[in-house]
């Protein structure tokens, strides 16, 4: 049975760099280096493993984002995905999660899918709701936040570790899956993989190709508005002491002063 897997990957500002907001209060994607969101590497990894176990599978990686976002596709292709789709359009600038999920849903449908794979959250927006939105928009099952996942005979199964309980869940394909960082280390691209990736096909689509009106997305189409963004004042420098044998007692004194003891 053939299996079409689409992995949604996001290109995000590097968390270890200096992240911030642009003048229009959208995430500054120009002054910080970007990369494939580390949490989406787990989705690519699980997609590749599922594809390896299937008789005949194709893994497409899909990203919505500006020109640089192609970098996320290159990384995923060098890990082993088969082809890429990049949705890029100036009118997408400033889209909120509703806009992004609309575009991803249309693009996923256009690619054709049995399984959509996502990360647990993007490392910049950190909402963790896009997979649920995709499921709602596509009208297929939501099998999200899995720390273990497998696909067999048209059924996806996995383990979801929630706040109150750990659950075994399953659904028939087609489905939208998201995986956590507990799902297994992502592979590093090999030199061979990096060379092969350069020859893999990447399609570029704009809003027209997806039959989406510019007013449905971007800053104007957003259903939320950021009114202000302020850098949190750095924490005022506290006391740092070297333990000379009574460090624990001194710390107890400090905590007593604040009434914690």
């Amino acid at each position: 049975m053939s299996l079409n897997i689409v992995v949604c990957v996001k290109y995000v500002p590097d968390a270890t760099g200096d992240r911030g907001f642009a003048d229009d209060l959208t995430v500054d994607r120009e002054d910080t280096d970007g990369l494939l969101s580390e949490l989406d590497e787990y989705a690519v990894e699980q997609a590749l493993q599922i594809a390896e176990d299937a008789d005949d599978a194709e893994v497409t990686v899909l990203t919505v984002g500006p020109e640089d976002a192609r970098g996320a596709l290159s990384k995923a292709l060098s890990m082993g995905a088969d082809k890429g789709v990049h949705v890029e359009d100036d009118d997408l600038h400033g889209s909120d999660v509703m806009g992004t999920s609309l575009v991803l849903a249309k693009a996923v449908e256009q690619v054709g899918y049995d399984l959509v794979m996502c990360g647990m959250a993007s490392t910049d927006g950190e909402m963790g709701v896009l997979p649920a939105l995709l499921s709602e928009r596509l009208g297929v099952a939501q099998v999200t936040l899995l720390s273990e996942v497998s696909v067999e005979d048209g059924t996806v199964k996995g383990r979801r570790d929630g706040d109150a309980a750990s659950e075994q869940v399953e659904a028939s394909l087609p489905a939208v899956v998201s995986v956590t960082d507990q799902s297994g280390e992502a592979r590093y691209p090999s030199f061979k993989g990096i060379m092969a990736a350069k020859k893999k096909p990447v399609e570029s689509w704009d809003l027209d190709d997806l039959d989406i009106e510019p007013k449905e997305v971007g800053l104007t189409g957003a259903w939320t508005a950021v009114e202000s963004a302020a850098e949190r004042p750095p924490r005022t420098a506290g006391t740092v002491v070297k333990d000379e044998g009574a460090g624990g007692k001194e710390l107890a004194e400090f905590l007593t002063g604040l009434k914690f003891i």
């Binding site: 968390a15 992240r19 907001f21 209060l25 949490l39 999660v97 509703m98 647990m120 910049d124 950190e126 909402m127 963790g128 709701v129 649920a132 939105l133 499921s135 709602e136 928009r137 939501q142 099998v143 999200t144 720390s147 929630g162 706040d163 109150a164 309980a165 750990s166 659950e167 075994q168 869940v169 489905a175 507990q182 259903w223 939320t224 950021v226 009114e227 202000s228 963004a229 302020a230 949190r232 750095p234 924490r235 420098a237 506290g238 006391t239 740092v240 002491v241 070297k242 333990d243 009574a246 460090g247 624990g248 001194e250 710390l251 107890a252 400090f254 905590l255 604040l258 914690f260 003891i261």
Partner: protein
């Protein structure tokens, strides 16, 4: 006065603290109407009424436990249609966010997740959020539809505010999508007897520096009545369960006091604890980035400092 829907997070009828905090926030903008679903829903009424719920809409059906997320969305949507509220507030758990998002797209409303504060603004509700590992604070508003907002634990004080808490049965007809994802087994998390990590006033956390042994960290936590947290390095090494991980891909906590021992303070860890009121660190490396955040830091061996502190706490408590 406008009504505000509050989605109730409870475990077999025990209402979790973040829901009570939501009732406080809801009262700032309207009259809270609570929505309690699933087994034990009837037992939530007392706590909800005591904290300001004027009405409690209740539904129980096997679907809530047998299938993932969507049955709850169907029910919340039914409540939304019945009440026509001014806003919908949901606790920011992983599941809460998914429920809120699906509801938002159905009712064509914008969504804000992980708010840490809410206030009434001239053009509607204004939500405060933290961004980029809590290095920024943003204020946002929903510009389309009825605001759907998920709120993080510890965002408001729990306040008693007795209200009617009139119980009404909520009639839910489940959508086809409701039975999409079956829950085939459920293992409840074992209770440690310690406070819930996200709700605790004090968190004592250990990292790679504890070198496989959380005993000293746990002893300190117990002397202070604290919850235990762990860095991802400690969780990945298998020394502590993932449910106790603090940080970007674990829990985000905002206690009165956070004590980090043997934790370097990587950006992804800071993302989950940076907004704690008072931060204390014990680390043998004076250059560890965690010391940039602390109110009080001890450069030293945690195996010396932590037991000494624990002993001193126990003595002082006497």
């Amino acid at each position: 006065m406008a009504e505000v829907l509050v989605y109730v997070d409870h475990v077999d009828g025990a209402v979790r603290k973040p829901t009570l905090e939501l009732l406080t926030l809801a009262r700032r903008v309207g009259e809270p109407v609570a929505v309690a679903l699933g087994a034990g829903a009837a037992d939530t009424v007392g706590a909800l009424a005591e904290h300001g719920a004027t009405r409690v809409l209740m539904a129980d059906a096997p679907e809530f436990a047998e299938y993932l997320v969507v049955p709850k969305v169907d029910a919340l949507q039914a409540a939304y249609e019945a009440v026509q509220p001014a806003a919908v507030l949901v606790p920011s758990s992983a599941e809460g966010k998914e429920i809120a998002a699906r509801l938002a797209v159905r009712i064509k409303s914008g969504i804000i997740t992980d708010a840490v504060d809410l206030e009434a603004g001239e053009e509607g509700l204004v939500a405060t959020q933290s961004a980029f590992a809590a290095s920024f604070t943003t204020k946002s508003r929903i510009t389309q539809g009825t605001p759907v907002i998920t709120v993080k634990p510890n965002s408001a004080a729990v306040e008693a505010a007795p209200a009617a808490g009139a119980v009404e049965a909520l009639v839910v007809s489940f959508s086809d999508a409701a039975s999409g994802t079956r829950v085939t087994a459920r293992t409840p998390r074992e209770s440690t007897g310690r406070p819930e990590l996200t709700e605790a006033a004090i968190v004592v956390a250990g990292g790679r520096g504890v070198n496989g042994d959380f005993a000293a960290v746990e002893a300190l936590a117990d002397s202070l009545g604290a919850a235990v947290g762990a860095s991802r390095a400690a969780v990945d090494a298998g020394w502590y369960p993932h449910s106790n991980q603090v940080g970007q891909t674990g829990k985000s906590v905002s206690p009165q006091l956070y004590i980090a021992s043997g934790i370097s303070g990587a950006i992804q860890h800071r993302a989950g604890m940076q907004t704690s009121k008072t931060i204390v660190a014990i680390n043998k490396d004076a250059e560890a980035p965690i010391f940039d955040l602390v109110d009080y830091g001890v450069v030293g061996d945690l195996f010396e400092v932590v037991p000494q502190l624990t002993e001193e706490v126990n003595t002082r408590k006497g």
